[in-house]
């Protein structure tokens, strides 16, 4: 009994320590380890106490010399004597301000989120592993190993990150690490490569092959009319009429159109995030008040906190570059130096094709290729799961690529993914931005980008000498007409891409007569371009508006450019409302409906934050669109079938009021276009009446910018701003202009403005965490502090000195 009494306090203490040390689950979520998290010396109190308390400091790190000055918005201005030191310091600064984001993003690309948040993330990890981002990153790393200069720079960056990690004690970890109870892993060039591959997935990992194949089944003879490859509002990146050099068109086996009797896919890549894209444009000196070229860029991405972008200046004897890049990747991706400015938008070419694989039997161990059965290869992935046993995923690899989606039921076919990211390549993509950072003229710009492999980007250019230009750069697979637009027959090995277009033949334009260049994810060229390429994710409306406005207005100032980037004019409304109005029978409307009708009549088609008419139109058009394409919604594979886009719908409204698609299937009568418009209007009125409080556009849109963990407390809810999908100001609920930049290239100096919805410091709660959001939402900008030399004078910037 005495012995037992002796042990009781120790047993209970052990129990207490075990409880406090563990990370327990509550309602499906892991709690942080309570002992360390609530500890005043190790837990969140350290973050509360130390956040934003950094002053100037001196670092002694072997052999690295340089200075970093943090300006009013905490943008680091890095001054070094060598590029290697600059990259080291950039790595250090990225880690200091964005370490958790970098570590989390690299793990996400690698498919290792289950290790942190448990079994909820298994499907996410499984997908990332099936599409092979890790293998692609390893391949990139092998490429980089061939270039010792490049590799040294990448290692310098990684060493900078690791120098910060090594000085980081548990108590100093960013709050997310403490909440999720894990530590950052050392950085390496491989992890930078993961970041690049993740961007490739975002920008060229989407396509419409499967949903278009299903749509071809559904619409049969009407398909070509409803899904045109080029539409009347297409205004290509390279101006129409540009003469292209002939290109080599290799022979590819005749591609089979979809087999309308058998190929309906019930699973596949259907989650096309709408509205991702970007705008860039530049005007030459003749179209600007100052006589200097002006270049603008606003990439549209999913908006998150911490922001995907990080602003910085790198000053070395060879060059002086300012702009944004990704935390985790050295250099500047979008920006300017003392001679040139550049900006990027997504090119949207289809570089991802799906092949239908016919299995021999249910075991899926062999598949048909060229009339024989070929053994399937396997890759087994072990997904480690926090507080659970590991999960093993057997990935089947075919001649064409991995099987990513498995068809349900008894079907003996699946979809194999053939993606440019999996293809062996020799280009050093990292060198593109490094060379751009130091380019001094058009030739150097062209040379810098000519080996950029993917994702295909529209690189806009302007320089202090007055030149402007744009190049659609990336590897363009050589395809026959219609190849890759639908799911491809995977039983014939001749159905492959026949190499790539010589990169010097990629479409570009230099100093066009019209005095401006632009891109907004539209088609790259008109149909005279000698190589066939199809729509990975082309958008027409923004480019139409941009080109119309740039063409109509003679002279532009920086303020005009700011207005244009924030322009919320809706082409869809401009095109459809006159037809809608013509269809409505006004006499039959009650007083309230007449009031709304009157509001819409007076509306300037602008999705301003305070506009109620924008809400009316949005509801009206959505309702019209659903009623028009109700046939697809009735169809059992509706979510896997492409719907004709809004422009095709309006075209149908303009040209064929009696089209069978206007008939509303649920009613016994046969409806016409005008009856559908009237029904949609009534539906809009009834939705309008159901609002407790009539919202304006910003209230109705209810935008948010969420933290990467989706923790609401770290996110920004109810962001009030103008704009919508497919407008120049393409801000919808969760995505939009992730960086707005305007650069005027004077002969002796650069005048630049920029902003992004977030802040430089990725630590939640920091005064630099989200301080730019409100200014961004209102269409405001910051003057960018582009220092020609180390800042001196009355400003006392916090500084880190490496010596």
């Amino acid at each position: 009994m005495t012995k037992l009494k002796f042990f009781i306090p120790f047993i209970l203490s052990a129990g207490l320590l075990f409880f406090l040390q563990g990370s327990w689950m509550l309602k499906g979520n892991f709690l942080p380890a309570l002992g360390s998290f609530f500890s005043p010396s190790q837990g969140f109190w350290v973050n509360v106490k130390s956040l934003d308390q950094d002053g100037s400091s001196i670092m002694s790190l072997s052999g690295v010399k340089g200075n970093v000055y943090f300006d009013e918005r905490y943008v680091p201005h890095i001054f070094c004597e060598t590029e290697k030191d600059a990259y080291f310091i950039q790595g250090y600064v990225h880690a200091k301000l964005r370490l958790w984001q970098m570590d989390f993003s690299a793990r996400a690309a690698e498919g290792r989120i289950s290790e942190i948040i448990g079994e909820k993330a298994i499907p996410f990890d499984q997908h990332k592993r099936r599409i092979g981002l890790k293998e692609a990153a390893l391949m990139a790393q092998e490429n980089w190993n061939r270039d010792t200069v490049l590799l040294n720079l990448l290692h310098a960056y990684a060493n900078g990150v690791n120098a910060y990690i090594s000085e980081l004690k548990d108590k100093d970890l960013p709050i997310e690490f403490k909440l999720l109870n894990y530590r950052p892993e050392p950085w390496s060039p491989y992890r930078s490569a993961l970041f690049h591959k993740n961007m490739a997935e975002i920008l060229c990992g989407r396509d419409k092959d499967v949903i278009l194949t299903n749509a071809a089944h559904f619409f049969k003879d009407d398909f070509n009319q409803l899904f045109p490859e080029i539409n009347p509002y297409d205004s290509p990146v390279i101006p129409e009429g540009t003469v292209f050099e002939d290109s080599i068109q290799k022979n590819i086996a005749e591609v089979q159109k979809p087999n309308l009797n058998s190929d309906v896919f019930e699973t596949g890549p259907f989650d096309l995030t709408p509205g991702l894209g970007s705008n860039n444009w530049a005007v030459n000196g003749q179209k600007s008040y100052s006589g200097n070229p002006i270049l603008c860029n606003d990439p549209h991405l999913t908006l998150s906190l911490p922001s995907i972008w990080f602003e910085q200046q790198i000053h070395v004897p060879e060059y002086n570059v300012y702009g944004v890049g990704f935390p985790g990747v050295p250099g500047v991706v979008i920006g300017f130096n003392s001679d040139i400015a550049w900006g990027v938008t997504n090119g949207g070419w289809d570089v991802l094709d799906w092949y239908k694989i016919e299995w021999k039997d249910d075991s899926r161990s062999s598949y048909k290729l060229d009339g024989r059965w070929v053994d399937t290869e396997y890759r087994i992935e072990q997904i480690n799961v926090r507080s659970g046993p590991p999960v093993f995923d057997t990935i089947r690899i075919t001649h064409w690529g991995p099987i990513v989606y498995t068809q349900s039921g008894e079907k003996r076919f699946d979809l194999a993914m053939h993606w440019i990211v999996h293809e062996p390549y020799t280009e050093l993509e990292f060198n593109t931005f490094r060379k751009l950072n130091k380019a001094k003229n058009f030739e150097e710009y062209k040379k810098a980008i000519q080996n950029f492999p993917y994702p295909v980007q529209n690189f806009a250019y302007a320089d202090v000498k007055g030149e402007i230009g744009i190049t659609v750069q990336g590897k363009m697979p050589i395809k026959n007409n219609q190849f890759g637009r639908f799911v491809i027959d995977g039983t014939d090995s001749r159905n492959k891409w026949s190499g790539y277009l010589d990169s010097t033949k990629n479409p570009f334009v230099r100093n066009p007569l019209r005095g401006f260049i632009s891109s907004a994810n539209q088609r790259s060229t008109d149909l005279s371009f000698p190589n066939y390429y199809n729509d990975g994710d082309f958008r027409a409306m923004r480019s139409f508006l941009i080109n119309r406005m740039l063409g109509e207005k003679e002279i532009w100032s920086i303020e005009d450019m700011m207005d244009l980037q924030y322009n919320s004019h809706c082409l869809l409304a401009e095109l459809s409302l006159p037809f809608f109005f013509d269809c409505l029978s006004i006499d039959s409307l009650d007083h309230k409906a007449k009031t709304i009708f009157g509001q819409l009549k007076k509306w300037d088609y602008s999705y301003d934050s305070s506009s109620q008419a924008a809400v009316c139109f949005d509801l009206w058009f959505d309702s019209f669109y659903s009623l028009l394409w109700d046939e697809i919604n009735e169809n059992k594979v509706n979510e896997f079938t492409a719907m004709p886009d809004e422009l095709a719908s309006i075209e149908l409204l303009k040209t064929n009021h009696q089209s069978k698609y206007f008939d509303y299937a649920a009613s016994p009568e046969i409806e016409t276009a005008c009856e559908i418009v009237q029904m949609a209007f009534d539906s809009m009125i009834s939705q309008w009446n159901s609002f407790d409080e009539i919202p304006d556009w910003a209230g109705y849109k209810d935008a948010s910018i969420t933290h990467l963990t989706m923790i609401p407390a770290f996110s920004r809810q109810h962001v009030r701003t103008s704009g919508n999908e497919d407008l120049i100001n393409a801000h919808a609920r969760t995505f939009g202009p992730s960086w707005r930049m305007i650069v005027e290239l004077k002969k002796d100096s650069i005048l630049a403005y920029g902003i992004y919805p977030g802040g430089q410091n990725g630590h939640p709660g920091s005064k630099y965490y989200d301080q730019m959001i409100d200014t961004w939402a209102g269409g405001g900008y910051y003057l960018l502090s582009y220092f020609k030399a180390k800042p001196t004078g009355h400003h006392e910037y916090p500084t880190i000195t490496f010596e």
Partner: protein, 123 residues
């Protein structure tokens, strides 16, 4: 008379030191060692450790909150089901004090094991 003050003073010093040693279990360790070598009744050990550690922590946390980043505190409050800042301070102090109490209890047990007569003397 002197000994009446020495023990609580030592406990207070240990509590203050624990606030700055970046190991969350340090209150347990330091309390355990302190109580191995000092004679005191179990009741007083527990009361002094509970009170001193709780008070030291509550003051420290409040000061951290008052002088630190209040925006982050509010975010954390929201994460913990909108618990008030005072509640977060209290939970931290309670865990801090509990660790000290259990450390003191274990220290007392070792003390009694090493000095079997001590318990009889105190009684």
């Amino acid at each position: 008379m002197r000994s009446n003050y020495v023990y609580p003073l030592l406990v207070l010093i240990c509590a203050c030191v624990s606030l700055f040693i970046p190991y969350w279990y340090f209150p347990f360790i330091v309390s355990l060692f302190l109580n191995i070598f000092i004679e005191q009744s179990l009741f007083k050990r527990i009361v002094f450790h509970g009170l001193m550690y709780f008070l030291a922590c509550i003051i420290y946390c409040y000061m951290s909150y008052a002088t630190g980043n209040q925006k982050l505190m509010l975010m954390l409050s929201e994460i913990f089901m909108n618990a008030s800042v005072f509640m977060l301070i209290s939970i931290s102090s309670l865990i801090f004090a509990l660790l000290a109490i259990f450390g003191a209890w274990c220290g007392n047990t070792i003390y009694e094991f090493r000095n079997p007569a001590a318990k009889d003397i105190r009684v």
